[in-house]
Amino acid sequence: MTATQKVKFYQVGSFAVGNRLLEADQRTVQADVSRNNTITSGHRACQGCGEALGARYVLDAAMRATAGKLVAVNATGCLEVFTTPYPESSWQLPWVHSLFGNAAAVATGVAAGLKAQGRGDIRVLAQAGDGGTVDIGFGCLSGMFERNDDVLFVCYDNQAYMNTGVQRSGATPSAARTATTEAVGPEPGNAFGQGKDMATLAMAHGIDYVATATVSDLHDLEAKVERAMEFHGARYLHVLVPCPLGWGSNSSDTIRVARLATESGLFPVYEAEHGSVTAASPIRHRVPVEDYLRLQRRFRHLFDSQGAVKRPDIVGRLQQMANRNIDRFGLLTNEVA
């Protein structure tokens, strides 16, 4: 593993946010009382919002990596709405919002403008939800990759259009219920075989750095942000952020759900440079996909009222998807202590 620190043994391993037994520089940014809190308190995200958490993790890490010289460009979406109800703002960094689909293009312009002013030392980060990334913003994003503009684009993937009422996006998983993929008929929920795997699409552009991460492994996420900021050119970070509202999970289970997504193999966590995978985070304790699905009401139609699997055919297909990820990225080969 290159992105994460070498796993050493101490009381809580490498897995907690901080640790009194570690040197301060080995702890996470989030363990630091002087962290930037780039999204400050009082924002209007739902209880247990994964995106609010993921965005703070990413931006606090990016602020440390750039010594505070950072501009953020935001697409339309939950993140924009819950942080900036006029006239209040939760942002503690220079922040621009324009349209839903053009965050990548605006970020390209900000980077070009800074460079023209001789302020190439100020870095640019663009961020969007999965809708603003894989659907509406895809054209601008692909162009940004193709031109290799010096922007880190971060997608906070909660797998549907949550802000407008949980409509299906190109990142919605198969079989998931959304407002536009109702759990009715012989094939309830979102169809199989559709949707976009944005991280591999980004890799196909051959850009410097592509990585996936979740809110459940902070050390890994921060290491990837830090690594991304070492490159000058187009970079892409895809962060899985569970949405208690849209997924129908308990607000207290946000991190647990993200963890089960990776431990089941449904969401592979890896990084790639110049189009090739360089490292994958191994699964520590593998679980069957139903452990992940059962915590979410958007998959409730797959289970009976006792929590037993009611649609083994569909669960089986999802398990096959997880198995393919495990084989493809070697998620079980890389044993760690």
């Binding site: 796993v7 043994f9 101490y10 009381q11 809580v12 391993g13 490498s14 897995f15 907690a16 946010v17 901080g18 640790n19 009194r20 037994l21 702890r27 996470t28 989030q30 363990a31 009382v33 809190n37 999204i39 400050t40 308190s41 009082g42 924002h43 209007r44 995200a45 209880q47 247990g48 919002c49 994964g50 609010a52 958490l53 703070r56 942080t83 006029y86 006239p87 209040e88 703002s89 939760s90 902070l218 208690p244 308990n250 607000s251 207290s252 289970d253 946000t254 991190i255 647990r256 963890r259 520590r284 304790h285 202590a337």
Partner: protein, 543 residues
């Protein structure tokens, strides 16, 4: 108004929006009872002292430990560690080797000569402790640190009680015993050896004592009727183990039968082996499962070549022919052994009786208000007998007869005596709720198997009285301590501080833990779910 087009309000921070008003449940920090502490008969705060070991601060860890138990080096050798049986880590991989770390701390203290620190100012009260076993020494230690003058009357010629005259040297080297007793005496405990108390009220009057703690133990070996009667070939285990402290080791013969199934029987059998017996056979009337001896004792005895005869009683002895007759038993439906009428012979030059022990309670005879039932002294919840100011603890009570329980009794008695001397009765505070495994989020703990202590090879074990179990060194003691999950007690991992989507946790700095900022906490509960050790709880918000 000098604002841009269509702008009418100044830009403000979202801090003006107190999202705490959304909350219906609030997270609250709490300390729960770790299972190890809950299971410790000596009342040690194990999680508390392991916390310091994890940092490598062994002296502080030892000081935390001896607040409850003044004999860690002894404990680390003879305790049957119910703490490890209770340890939550066993459900993850294996229990933390608490006993091994305790011994490491105890040995460090002896090596570095650490002494007990604080002793409270003199109270002008004088307490008599009768007996210097683990209960008596523990009580003397705690009473002394509370500022009371303490005198121990010991009937024997040396301090330590059953720790010296019952526990074999291969389990507890006498240098260790002496060092820890010496340190207790150095607090200013007065000792009179060879002073057998026969009349407690009379001793209190003549000595001017304000209270007394009776901890005379149980050292009368129970006898069983053997048809050939008592002879030179029948010895009780207590006397055998006691005589091992003398100059001349007793002679048992080549083939020794040990009658009984407790830890003392195992000690006697293993001692017989070391004294040169070729055969040491334990004869026990029930099965291995029913045997009161601890598993580790039985395992080690078998490793050393001790033979076991389950479901057997001694029906007859014929030492002239060098044999005994055994009757086979069978368990009835209630689990009680019944004779079968089947007999067999077993070669034996002598029989060691290990059938349990009774207390010599003659010293209570002048106090009819002190109730004795079934050979045990009856006490209240604060260990006070029917006579005010007279307390009792250790093996004279109907309790588990282990060193650890005795030490715990000693501590509790000291607290009760201290309260009584101040004109109060000991109030035992309610225990914190137990930190169950289900309350932990073990994801955060790295997988780490335990470190086993090396053991002396069997060949050397059966020929010498060298200590069997070796100690941990610093690196593996540290490793072992760091396997502790700190169940129910915050260890400042920063998880709550990190995982709050609303930045509603304030980190107060090292040693001061955290505080919730309820103005912004929305009550999502992620901090509770992600707390590794179960030190946060959600409570309903009161309307």
């Amino acid at each position: 108004m000098d604002k841009p087009f269509a702008i009418t309000l100044d830009v403000g921070t979202s801090l003006a929006n107190k999202t705490g008003s959304w909350r219906v449940d609030r997270p609250v920090y709490l300390d729960r009872m770790p299972p190890c502490n809950d299971g410790c008969p000596a009342g040690e705060n194990i999680q508390g002292w392991l916390y310091y070991v994890e940092e490598g601060d062994y002296e502080q860890a030892w000081r935390r430990l001896v607040e409850d138990n003044p004999m860690p080096a002894i404990m680390g050798r003879v305790c049957y560690h119910p703490c490890e049986t209770a340890c939550n880590r066993a459900k993850l991989d294996e229990a933390v080797g608490i006993n091994a770390v305790e011994r490491f701390l105890g040995d460090q203290a002896i090596e570095h000569g650490w002494s007990f620190g604080f002793v409270a100012p003199p109270s002008d009260k004088h307490v008599l402790v009768i007996g210097s076993g683990p209960a008596g020494l523990s009580a003397a230690y705690h009473l002394r640190r509370m500022g009371h003058a303490v005198t121990i009357y010991e009937a024997g010629w040396a301090l330590g009680g059953m720790m010296r005259f019952g526990i074999p040297k291969y389990r507890l080297p006498r240098a260790v015993l002496d060092a820890e007793i010496e340190r207790i005496c150095a607090l200013g405990v007065e000792v009179e050896l060879g002073h057998k108390v026969t009349d407690v009220p009379e001793e209190m009057r003549t000595g001017g004592f304000d209270a007394v703690f009776i901890a005379v133990g149980a050292q009368l070996g129970k006898r069983a009727y053997l048809p050939a009667g008592d002879s030179a070939h029948v010895i009780d285990a207590v006397s055998l183990l006691h005589s091992m402290e003398g100059i001349e080791p007793p002679s048992l013969g080549r083939r020794v039968a040990i009658y009984g199934g407790g830890d003392t029987a195992m000690d006697a059998a293993r001692t017989a082996k070391r004294l040169g017996a070729t055969d040491a056979v334990v004869v026990y009337r029930r099965t291995r499962e029913k045997m009161p001896a601890h598993d580790i004792e039985v395992e080690e005895a078998v490793e050393e070549g001790v033979l076991m005869k389950w479901l057997s009683t001694i029906a007859d002895v014929d030492f002239d022919k060098g044999r005994i007759v055994i009757e086979k038993m069978a368990l009835d439906e209630t689990g009680f052994p019944q004779p079968t009428g089947e007999f067999e012979e077993l070669d034996a030059d002598c029989v060691v009786l290990a059938l349990g022990q009774d207390s010599d309670l003659a010293l209570l005879e002048s106090m009819p208000e002190v109730v004795v039932a079934d050979g045990s002294v009856q006490v209240g919840p604060d260990l006070m007998t029917g006579r005010p100011g007279v307390f009792a603890g250790g093996d004279v009570l109907p309790v588990d007869r282990t060193v650890t329980t005795a030490v715990g009794n000693g501590k509790k008695a000291a607290r009760a005596i201290d309260a009584w001397l101040r004109g109060e009765r000991l109030e035992v505070p309610a225990r914190h709720e137990l930190a169950n495994f289900e309350l932990l989020n073990t994801w955060y703990y790295a997988d780490a198997p335990r470190t086993e202590r090396a053991r002396l090879e069997v060949a050397r074990r059966t020929s010498t009285f060298d200590e069997i179990v070796q100690g941990l060194d610093e690196t593996n003691a540290l490793f072992e301590a760091r396997r502790c999950m700190s169940c129910g007690n915050c260890f400042e991992c920063d998880n709550c501080f990190g995982v709050c989507p609303d930045n509603a946790v304030v980190k107060l700095g090292f040693g001061s833990r955290y505080r919730f900022e309820y103005d912004y906490c929305k009550g999502c509960g992620i901090c509770v779910s992600e707390c590794p050790c179960g030190a946060i709880v959600m409570e309903p918000e009161l309307a």
